[in-house]
């Protein structure tokens, strides 16, 4: 039985991301999804879970999540060191950074699990396609965000950038990875779009030789998208 703890789905649910967990649940036998709300005590404090998952959220929700998780900062740090799998999508990764800076220079302290910090630019939304790589798996996806992250992630990133941007416009390294803490700005139905990456994630959870839900169709979509993304004429921004 796999246990996936979804943190704060009542506010962390933007851009089709919750479907990733649904896809895992429908692809693997015996998955228990634990939905932890802001008013609950996180399950990962008291029992072993196979994955901790968080979707993107609004800017005010980021502050609520930071406040909620602050008392458990040390527990989270320890879990990261022990190799706990975290899949943290979109601006949820900023929650785990050093701080988030507003345009006026004011800062919101983050959990300090990663060494990155984020800068918001609320009047300029950044939209882009993303083509990257993890081991020999190519990744296709989308970015849509107000903030960018800064700091050195050259030794602990998630995806090599093939086309598009990393954690900021100058970066060639996408996301932040500490052991099995995986945080990436590539958002949306990332696991549905990338069936081979989904298998990579499942492997970390100890699940191998799995046939994903509608795997054949998902791979066909993935290959078509990959071809489009690799086409030199395709505009990324």
């Amino acid at each position: 039985m796999l246990k996936i703890e979804v943190l704060f789905p009542e506010i962390c649910n933007l851009f089709g991301n919750p479907f990733n967990v649904k896809y895992l649940k429908n692809s693997v036998k015996d998955v228990e999804v634990i939905n932890t709300q802001l008013t609950d005590t996180p399950k990962f404090l008291s029992e072993k879970v196979d994955m901790i998952y968080m979707s993107p959220m609004t800017e005010s929700s980021q502050e609520l999540v930071i406040e909620k998780l602050k008392p458990y900062k040390e527990n989270i740090k320890k879990l990261v060191q022990e190799g706990q799998l975290f899949l943290i999508i979109g601006n949820a990764l900023e929650v785990f950074g050093k701080y988030i800076e507003n345009e006026d220079g004011t800062k919101i302290d983050g959990l300090g699990i990663t060494n990155l910090y984020a800068k918001r630019d609320m009047m300029h939304r950044f939209n882009s396609l993303f083509l990257g790589k993890i081991e020999d798996i190519k990744i296709v996806g989308f970015k849509s965000q107000f903030a960018m992250s800064y700091g050195d992630n050259s030794n602990n990133y998630v995806f090599d950038v093939i086309k598009g941007n990393g954690i900021n416009k100058e970066s060639k390294y996408e996301g932040i990875r500490i052991n099995n803490f995986i945080g990436t700005y590539v958002l949306g139905p990332l696991l549905i779009l990338n069936p081979y990456f989904t298998k990579y994630i499942l492997k970390i959870m100890g699940v191998e030789n799995v046939k994903l839900q509608y795997e054949k169709e998902a791979i066909e979509c993935y290959e078509k998208r990959l071809k489009e993304f690799e086409n030199a004429d395709t505009k990324y921004d």
């Binding site: 009542e10 933007l14 089709g16 709300q37 802001l38 609004t58 849509s144 949306g188 509608y214 004429d233």
Partner: protein
């Protein structure tokens, strides 16, 4: 002031030239004026009363209804329906409204205002009344999330503007902390639910104490009536409330509460859709606030029609073909159309043309919205077939499979014309074409080809 007059005269000349060339006046003269004089919108003379209409859905319909009603009641109305709802479009309408010494010829103006453009508009144009129809998730790339749009509006809202807000929408009803507010709502309906059955509900927690909200009833997404069991926060009480929708007799009953008294009145229903009933009650609220007599408002709705440019129904040799616009990249708009279609009577076959025409030419469309959208509504006994056309057909196909729509009911093809081959052209099945805003021409062409094929089939049989 010299710069202003140069801007005004240049814009007026541009406007005349566009007319001579037979082009639509559009927003272009306004863009010219603002380029020459940055605060043009502030300096140009405006009618005394300014009615602003903003929100995610329903802006255009609400504006058109208000304009028609005011004209019928002998107001001289200036509007921006010919231009656009951004700053340049509004400037263009003011340019059309003033004479050469910058004096407006109108009593009142009704302006559709793009939510995102409000920072460029509100510093100069301060509405007497602002209606916000609702705030929903829209395009991820442009609008991000409704809280972002709410914050933009809140930051720029003039203090003196009286707000007319939807009490059933806890996002938009929180607009304007210090502004005077009037609320409208639709009371509980038989079709309301206890729990939201949409993927998106953007108001799940109490805005005051962040506990989970309880809904007395949910209509769709976050529209409904809610309260917080922890701190007592609840949906605002409406001043204007639809208390009964009588589809049989084609009317709505409205309760108007002012200074402790309640006034009950009935209005002819101009459309069966719940969205248009929201539009109606927003319009009734505004007209009544402007001091127009109830009888006059009732008279207006007696004759008024809603122009359904987004909807077309026809019958060819006994087969109904219904075209319906559904804003692509907008999960709420598409979910609402899916919900509407599944509730329509009779067997149906649906063609989906919801791809983004522009992205498919130069880029690859961001399809994250598909996973915010309620495709499960298309998994219905009465829906016999869903045929997907266009460059993203495989993505829609996979999404529909993941919504548990049976494989045998699905077909997909990149070639739009090829979708026709999957239709049964059976008289017992209505054909629905759902198309993206910018795919309208493609949808029209397809409809014509379907008509020809039906006629050919009929000819062949006889």
């Amino acid at each position: 002031m010299l710069k202003f007059y140069i801007a005004l005269y240049t814009a007026k000349i541009v406007r005349i030239m566009l007319k001579i060339l037979g082009r639509k006046a559009s927003f272009f003269p306004g863009r010219v004026a603002i380029t020459i004089c940055k605060d043009f919108l502030g300096k140009v003379d405006k009618p005394k009363q300014i009615i602003g209409v903003t929100g995610t859905n329903g802006k255009t319909t609400v504006c058109n209804l208000i304009i028609d009603a005011l004209k019928q009641n002998n107001y001289k109305v200036l509007d921006n329906s010919f231009g656009s709802n951004i700053d340049a479009g509004i400037a263009a309408s003011f340019i059309a409204g003033v004479n050469i010494i910058n004096k407006t010829k109108y009593d009142i103006t009704v302006l559709e205002i793009d939510e995102r453009s409000s920072p460029k508009i509100f510093p100069y144009v301060k509405p007497t009344y602002l209606i916000c129809t609702n705030l929903f998730r829209d395009s991820i790339r442009r609008n991000a999330h409704p809280e972002f749009i709410l914050n933009i509006l809140n930051k720029n809202l003039p203090e003196q503007t009286k707000l007319i807000l939807n009490a059933d929408d806890l996002i938009s009803s929180s607009l304007g902390s210090t502004n005077e507010k009037i609320y409208f709502a639709i009371d509980k309906l038989d079709t309301d639910k206890e729990q939201c059955d949409n993927i998106i509900n953007d108001v799940r927690i109490c805005p005051k104490c962040h506990s989970l909200l309880k809904y007395n009833y949910v209509r769709y997404h976050h529209i409904g009536n809610a309260y917080c069991p922890n701190c007592g926060f609840k949906s605002p009480k409406p001043n204007y409330e639809v208390t009964k929708i009588d589809y049989k007799n084609n009317n709505i009953t409205v309760s108007i509460s002012t200074k402790g008294t309640k006034l009950i009145s009935k209005y002819r229903l101009i459309s069966n859709s719940i969205f248009n009933i929201y539009n109606m009650i927003a319009v009734i609220s505004l007209l009544s606030e402007l001091g127009i007599d109830i009888e006059k408002i009732q008279n207006f709705f007696e004759k008024e029609k809603i122009i359904e440019s987004r909807y077309n129904k026809e019958e060819v040799d006994g087969i109904k073909i219904i075209s319906h616009m559904a804003k692509g990249q907008n999960p709420i708009a598409c979910s609402c159309v899916f919900d509407y279609i599944r509730n329509e009577k009779g067997k149906k076959e649906i063609i989906l043309l919801l791809f983004d025409l522009f992205d498919s030419k130069e880029s690859s469309e961001n399809i994250t919205w598909l996973y915010d959208c309620d495709f499960k509504f298309l998994n219905s006994d009465d829906i016999d077939k869903v045929i997907i056309g266009g460059p993203r057909a495989e993505d829609f196909y996979l999404r529909l499979l993941l919504a548990n729509v049976p494989k045998e009911k699905l077909a997909f093809t990149e070639e739009i014309d090829n979708t026709i081959n999957y239709l049964s052209l059976d008289k017992s099945k209505d054909i629905y074409i759902l198309f993206e805003l910018y795919d309208e021409e493609i949808a029209k062409n397809l409809r014509r080809k379907i008509e020809i094929k039906i006629k050919e089939k009929e000819g062949g049989v006889s």
